[in-house]
């Protein structure tokens, strides 16, 4: 079974037309899962690049739903929404039910296990009750027994963010991090957060990751050279994954 490529896009970034071009390219060039970032009020665990993309999009995208629906209609691979629980708490049921209604597959809240650790089970149940898949985000600071526990209830895969924030190459020993948790995770393991360096990716895969999640690198490519550059990157990363 080939390794999973989870490609991230910020909803609507840089503009609607280019965004749609990019997600089409993501699928065409071999992404297995699409992760769509809905700009939050406060991107607590995102680095400067993703934050820039949120800020840009927030300036013009007032209603996320038509574009989310358009995304769903064009793309056949699973779509996971990435956004912060903190923002949606006041309207959580409506939010989840709308996502389910337009056919979104799952949701990932990066702050669930970190900021709501005492009640994460309640929220996971809520997500599942709405017919959505709950993809759980964990990080090196999550204690071993908790990783073990949530890996069993995470749908599709368990997300493991190796760095404290997206897109900032804080030095970490990716291979030893993955080796350490691989034995705890009874599920598919997707590694991301600051993982855009190809050597890091190879280390993660060699250490037993089932897939990788890429985001910042695409946004940077769009900033630098436009959507086609980012699509080329998807193809390139697919190639790296196919080495395994």
């Amino acid at each position: 079974m080939s390794k999973m490529l989870v490609s991230y896009a910020t909803l609507g970034y840089p503009k609607e037309k280019e965004y749609l071009e990019f997600i089409d390219g993501c699928v065409k060039e071999g992404s297995d899962i699409l992760e769509i970032g809905v700009p939050p009020k406060y991107a607590k665990y995102d680095g400067p690049v993703i934050r820039r993309s949120y800020k840009q999009v927030s300036s013009w995208l007032k209603d996320i739903w038509p574009l989310l629906k358009e995304t769903r209609d064009r793309v056949k691979i699973p779509i996971i929404i990435l956004t912060y629980l903190e923002d949606w708490l006041p309207v959580l049921d409506d939010f989840l039910s709308n996502l389910a209604k337009i056919g979104i597959d799952g949701i990932l809240f990066p702050d669930l296990i970190i900021d709501y650790v005492d009640e994460y089970e309640k929220y996971v149940k809520k997500i599942k009750d709405h017919g959505l898949k709950a993809v759980i985000f964990t990080a090196p600071s999550v204690p071993d027994p908790l990783i073990q526990k949530v890996s069993k209830i995470s749908d599709i895969f368990l997300y493991y963010g190796v760095r404290p924030t997206t897109g900032v190459p804080i030095p970490v020993s990716v291979d030893s991090l993955i080796t350490r948790i691989r034995i705890l995770v009874d599920n598919k393991l997707v590694v991301g957060f600051g993982l855009s360096d190809v050597e890091d990716m190879r280390k993660a895969l060699r250490a037993g990751a089932d897939g990788i999640a890429i985001g910042t690198a695409y946004i940077e490519a769009i900033e630098r050279g436009g959507v086609q550059d980012a699509i080329n990157l998807v193809k390139y990363f697919r190639g790296v994954l196919n080495e395994f």
Binding site: K41, Y42, K44, Y45, G47, P48, R51, I113, I114, D115, V117, A139, P140, S141, V142, P143, D144, L146, R163, P164, T165, V168, P169, I170, P171, V172, S173, S176, L177, R180
Partner: protein, 424 residues
């Protein structure tokens, strides 16, 4: 004897992060950040120090060169019994203390200055920079730099620079360059001086200057407390103490330390906590800086300048201005994230004592053991006395161990002033 010393000095630092009961909330950038503080860390801290800051490995090997430096400054520090204090309190409890005042710089701060300097040197940088308030941390950095034949620049808060010339002298003896902050060396300093030419300086200003100076010259910036990596390095204290307790055939019941940012308490207590030794852990703060009783557990900046990433901690707010108590090391608005989490979870208890109370404790300790404790450490001593008296009341043979994080011989002017004010 030399062999024994080497055996007591640990080969690994101990990291409590994987043994915490809950995930440690990660450092993060503030909302609407105009620049990434996390990214800034990457540019100013030695790479290996940053890696250690974010690692989840339980044990991290201490480089041989750092172990040698630890031995050279007199580690392991002694673990001593305060027999006469026990007698004076007439308690059935046994009282031991780890004496970090026995290092050349007079406090525990050198334990993290050495490895941070070493890792800067290892990546080819020959100059380290930091800020200092009262001077303990700056002294440790100046000595660490000298031990690895490096240069050091220390931005010392101007009022302290003028009021504590002895501290400056020590740093200069070690070869450190000490400047009264605000200076004309940095853009930030020049800006502050332009607004107020007689600005007295502050830790926040000094820190901003140190970071800017490191950044523009491609030097490395050393961080003294609060960040978990400093606690990691300080774990030599607790690990040595555990071995020393083993040699004595003692098992600790109560472990006590004072808290400024949390690095001496964490370094002392966390190895015991991780090894599940000890039934009660007490972190002692100052009544005048009531972070434990009145602080909130929330995301806040570790520095008043807001240049470092926000961390989740018990805090009085970064803009809180601590009153001028003599325990300068406790004049800090927050407590390290790992320690804050352990207090919130009820695993570590806290106490707060006022200056008159700690003065009495310091005096009693000096009379009993001959050691003048740093005013910071006197807070721990006050808690020790209370626990020892409680043991007496309950007829319990408790074994109390505390960290005497520094001596008070550079605080004599403060003691003189306290004596005048507080002696009956």
């Amino acid at each position: 004897m030399a062999i024994e010393r080497e055996e007591i000095l640990p080969k690994y630092w101990y990291n409590i992060i994987p043994d915490l009961p809950k995930p440690l909330p990660p450092p993060r950038d503030p909302p609407d950040a105009e620049f990434s503080r996390i990214d800034l860390l990457r540019k100013i801290m030695p790479k290996e120090v940053l890696r250690q800051q974010f690692t989840v490995e339980r044990f991290i090997k201490i480089p041989e060169e750092v172990r040698e430096a630890y031995l050279n400054i007199g580690r392991p520090t002694p673990l001593m019994r305060a027999k006469r204090l026990e007698e004076m309190l007439n308690t059935p409890a046994k009282i031991y203390f780890k004496f970090e005042g026995a290092t050349p710089t007079g406090s525990h701060k050198i334990n993290t200055a050495l490895p941070q300097a070493y890792f800067a040197k290892a990546e080819g940088v020959n100059h380290i920079v930091t800020e200092t308030g009262a001077g303990q941390w700056g002294t440790a950095v100046a000595l660490a730099a000298r031990m690895y034949n490096m240069e050091s620049t220390i931005f010392m808060v101007k009022v302290s620079y003028e009021q504590k010339p002895q501290r400056r002298t020590i740093m200069e003896l070690y070869g450190g360059k000490v400047y009264a902050s605000p200076t004309n060396l940095t853009e930030y300093g020049r800006k502050v001086l332009a607004e107020n030419p007689s600005h007295p300086g502050s830790l926040g200003v000094a820190m901003s200057e140190a970071i800017e100076y490191a950044l523009t010259n491609n030097y490395r910036y050393l961080v003294g407390s609060v960040l978990d990596v400093a606690i990691l390095h300080q774990s030599v204290i607790g690990q040595e103490a555990m071995k020393q307790m083993d040699i004595l055939g003692e098992e600790p019941d109560i472990l006590i330390g004072c808290v400024g940012g949390g690095s001496n308490f964490g370094g002392f207590a966390f190895p015991f906590l991780g090894a599940k030794r000890g039934e009660k852990f007490i972190a002692v703060g100052s009544y005048e800086i009531p972070k434990f009783s009145q602080g909130d557990y929330m995301y806040d900046f570790p520095d008043s300048a807001g240049l470092l990433p926000m961390v989740k901690m018990i805090t009085l707010g970064k803009d809180y201005v601590p009153p001028p108590i003599y325990a300068g090391g406790l004049r800090y608005h927050g407590a390290a994230p790992s320690l804050s989490l352990l207090i919130k979870e009820g695993i570590v208890e806290w106490r707060e004592y006022s200056e008159p109370e700690i003065f009495e404790a310091a005096k009693l300790f000096a009379e009993a053991q001959g050691i003048v404790p740093a005013p910071e450490s006197a807070h721990a001593i006050k808690a020790v006395i209370d626990e020892a008296l409680k043991a007496k009341k309950n007829h319990e043979r408790k074994v109390i161990v505390f960290n005497l994080s520094g001596h008070g011989l550079l605080d004599l002017p403060n003691y003189e002033s306290m004596m005048k004010r507080l002696s009956k």
